[in-house]
């Protein structure tokens, strides 16, 4: 059998585009930290900023402490002189791929495979001692040296892409949020129950009577004790204050404030954490093939097929892995494999080979992007109605999640736009899925409210009182919270919330159409100075600019018109809105100026280049490759 000829193909350089790993990292941080920070900026029943700072810095601290824990847990030790050549190879390859420092090789007696860990300034590659010796030997054997080198470069690329610190911080953030909220729930529930059990005894306490029982005390000691203990007047004041506190509502607040974070943290840990793991592997794979200029050595490392055999028959094995049947059972098997793959931390070899051959496969398709953005909406919607943030969400219900979705979807648009794909239908589908998920959640809530209104209005009233009381400024005070007209409340709440869903749909659509158009224009700026380093930064500025326009002008205007019509003409709101408009107008002006100057002209010959950009596009006049930095070239 004759091997097909090798060819060099232009592939999408995924490193030039927004990193999916960073996007996932940002999503997890936004969900967990963003909501707590929002709670601390806006009104909140309790002082939330220490919690926000704690959740920001405690994971950072544990992230810094992680290497020494790993050293202790896995009995790691620095590699000795017998592995000097391997350490040297690490140094050489680190320099070759442009790492700013060399990771230290550490060995462990355990059978764990090659892996990386570290902090921002201390990097380590850990490997089993015997495996390290074998790897060192492989590096000296010309037949298998490229394969061993590929394995090393793969690990080094985790440092190059920076995913090691994103992974490390995310892991500690998830762990800290879970542990802290579980601790807070345990401690404050215990405290609340203690207050419930002890309050009657404590409030009936009469220090004078208590001391009278002690017949053996001297008058001096008795006087001293009386001075220490609260006076009858003070006790009465405490009784009056305590009388209006509803302790079950305090407990309701504690559970409501902590439980959503524990559950959401669990969901993020279960679904997003494995996805982050898988994504980083794809990026490291892409790094290896780009660094080596050919995919065969790494495919050999992935598939364990000897390199000479793979060189001779490069496609057969990978095609065999990727082949899928078309029967019903095959489809079921394929879906089952996909569901199982959601929980796996390492992608399977077939997917990795596919992504090595076509790096654009690493970027989420519209289904994945829609699931990502939709789940982000749901998570934010659930977390933002927790007692810590409900006061903020009540005032500005559309801001946080709308802006978060806009940013996530916009970042996901850059890759298909760079590939010259039409994004309109995908964008519409993503927004429809996001809004549908939100609508389903809302309809579920409204349906439950209507059911309760019809069959158990008392329970609905109590639930609403508990919900409002748990978010009131004095958590647990409920003497003035009564819902006089339940049906009016339910109808108004339903209309307002449904209106918000539709408004968000239209706002997102318009904003994303604008973003997509601007990004598509931006990709034609072939003559932009230092385009390979600066174009993506401009893309981020464009997304930020649209988000700013929405956040400062459009969303406040619509929210105020919908919820507080009388506040529409208040001065601070008008000033902020005007500021947003001025920034938007200035930004648009600058964009148009730059577009006229840099767009649709060949950087080499200056000839006009009509049409939109796509990967591999060339100037028709001089055949110069446009945006070559968006292309990765390596042999398959």
């Amino acid at each position: 059998m004759k091997a097909p000829p090798q060819k060099t193909e232009a592939k999408l350089n995924i490193f030039a585009l927004p990193s999916q790993t960073t996007l996932l990292f940002g999503l997890i941080v936004t969900v967990l930290l963003g909501t707590v920070f929002v709670g601390s900026i806006g009104p909140s029943p309790i002082c939330t900023w220490p919690l926000a700072l704690g959740l920001l810095f405690l994971p950072l601290r544990t992230f810094l402490a992680r290497p020494e824990r790993d050293f202790a847990r896995h009995n790691l030790s620095p590699a000795g002189d017998d592995l000097a050549d391997l350490q040297q190879a690490i140094e050489t390859n680190a320099k070759a791929i442009g790492l700013r420092r060399t990771p230290r090789l550490v060995v462990s007696p355990s059978k764990r495979p090659l892996y990386t860990f570290g902090t921002r300034r201390h990097w380590y590659i850990a490997v089993n001692h015997e495996a390290a010796l074998r790897l060192q030997e492989s590096l000296e054997d010309p037949d298998v040296a490229p394969v061993a080198q590929a394995r090393l470069i793969h690990e080094l690329y985790h440092f190059k892409t920076g995913d090691y610190w994103q992974m490390g911080y995310t892991r500690e953030l998830l762990r800290t949020v879970f542990l802290f909220m579980a601790w807070a729930a345990t401690f404050f529930c215990g405290f609340g129950f203690l207050l419930i059990v002890a309050a009657p005894d404590f409030l009936q306490l009469d220090p004078t009577k208590l001391l009278e029982q002690a017949g053996n005390l001297t008058p001096e000691v008795r006087q001293m004790l009386l001075q220490i203990m609260p006076s009858p007047g003070e006790m009465e004041a405490v009784r009056q204050k305590a009388a209006v506190i509803n302790l079950p509502l305090v407990l309701n607040f504690i559970v409501g404030a902590t439980l959503p974070y524990v559950i959401m943290g669990g969901i993020l840990w279960g679904l997003y954490w494995p996805k982050l793991w898988r994504m980083r592997e794809f990026y490291a794979d892409a790094g290896v093939v780009q660094a080596q200029g050919k995919a065969t050595p790494y495919l050999s490392a992935l598939t364990q097929i000897p390199l000479p055999l793979l060189k001779k028959y490069p496609y057969e094995r990978s095609l065999a892995i990727c082949q899928q049947g078309k029967g019903f059972l095959d489809i079921v098997r394929e879906w089952w494999r996909r569901i199982k793959a959601l929980l796996k931390r390492h992608p399977d070899a077939a997917t990795r080979i596919t992504c090595v051959k076509d790096p654009s496969q690493v970027i989420d398709n519209w289904v994945d992007a829609a699931i990502l953005a939709g789940s982000l909406t749901l998570l934010l919607d659930i977390l933002l109605v927790s007692p810590l943030t409900i006061l903020y969400a009540g005032s500005w219900p559309m801001h946080f999640s709308t802006l978060a979705i806009l940013v996530v979807v916009s970042l996901n648009l850059i890759s298909p736009l760079a590939q010259g794909k039409s994004v309109w239908s995908d964008m519409l589908k993503i927004i429809v899925v996001v809004v549908a998920l939100r609508l389903a959640w809302l309809l579920l809530t409204i349906g439950l409210m209507i059911l309760l209104l019809v069959f158990a209005p008392d329970i609905l009233s109590e639930t609403l009182v508990a919900f409002v009381a748990s978010s009131a400024h004095f958590a647990g005070y409920s003497d003035e919270l009564i819902f006089d007209n339940l049906s009016a409340f339910v109808v108004k709440a339903s209309i307002l919330n449904l209106a918000q869903v539709l408004i968000i749909f239209f706002i997102l659509m318009v904003a994303l159409v604008l973003v997509a158009f601007l990004l598509r224009c931006l990709l034609t700026w072939y003559r932009f100075p230092q385009v390979n380093q600066r174009l993506m930064k401009v893309a981020y500025l464009v997304i930020g600019w649209v988000a700013l326009l929405l956040g400062l002008t459009i969303l406040p205007l619509i929210t105020t018109a919908l919820l507080r019509l009388t506040d529409l003409l208040n001065l601070p709101g008008i000033i902020v809105g005007a500021l947003g408009l001025i920034i938007a107008a200035t930004g648009l002006g600058l964009f148009i100026y730059a577009h006229r100057k840099y767009a649709r002209r060949c950087p080499r010959c200056g000839t006009a280049v009509p049409g939109w950009y796509h990967v591999g596009k060339r100037c028709k006049a001089c055949n110069a490759l446009l945006h070559p930095w968006l292309i990765a070239e390596y042999e398959l």
Binding site: R61, R121, H122, T186, F187, A198, F202, L210, A214
Partner: protein, 202 residues
């Protein structure tokens, strides 16, 4: 070499003193008056000082054990046990045994602090200790209030009638342990944080 010899010599001396003190406690009748109050005070002071110093030295010497969780738990268990005896919950009739447990209580109070300090020196678990220590404190108060009754009255009752066994026997040990844990954990947390930051920038 000289340091190692000195350490070995001090350890032998500490073991010797410890055995000697224990023998003294059991051999010398506990109700003896030594002929004068001064001698009796000197005897008690000798026991307390030497037992505390030797136990602290031996804990530092064998810190490899005390930096582990079981090692940390040993002085705490000793504290709770001796506290039970001196509060009359576990009846001990022989006066020499009573003296032994009284001395053990004094030593355990110090040992609990030393063990906590050793644990926190080697392990960055200060925050966890404070956090879960507070959880244990609150839930113990809750269960105690629920099943033993009004704790304020019980506390006063135990103050007024110190001769009777107190139902709040656990309170002293818990306060003692928390008294060590809270300040030491705060110091440890800050110290380890500083160490981590410095190491990161080295």
């Amino acid at each position: 070499m000289r340091k190692a010899t000195l350490t070995l010599w001090l350890t032998r001396l500490a073991w010797g003193l410890l055995i000697f003190d224990v023998l003294l406690i059991f051999v010398v009748p506990a109700d003896t008056h030594f002929g004068s109050l001064l001698l009796m005070i000197a005897y008690a002071a000798w026991l307390i000082l030497t037992l505390v110093i030797t136990s602290v030295w031996l804990m530092i010497r064998y810190r490899a054990f005390f930096r582990t969780w079981p090692g940390w738990a040993v002085p705490l268990i000793t504290l709770i046990l001796s506290s039970l005896v001196i509060q009359g919950i576990l009846p001990v009739s022989h006066p020499n045994f009573s003296l032994f447990f009284s001395m053990l209580f004094v030593v355990s109070v110090c040992s609990a602090g030393v063990a906590t300090a050793i644990l926190l020196w080697y392990r960055d678990v200060g925050l966890g200790l404070i956090a879960w220590g507070l959880v244990i404190l609150v839930w113990m108060l809750l269960f105690s209030w629920r099943f033993q009754g009004n704790l304020i009255e019980l506390f006063f009752s135990s103050l007024i009638h110190p001769d009777k066994p107190s139902p709040l026997w656990w309170w002293n040990s818990l306060v003692c342990v928390c008294g060590w844990i809270i300040p030491l954990s705060v110091i440890s947390f800050l110290g380890h944080t500083l160490r981590l930051i410095l190491r990161e920038w080295q």
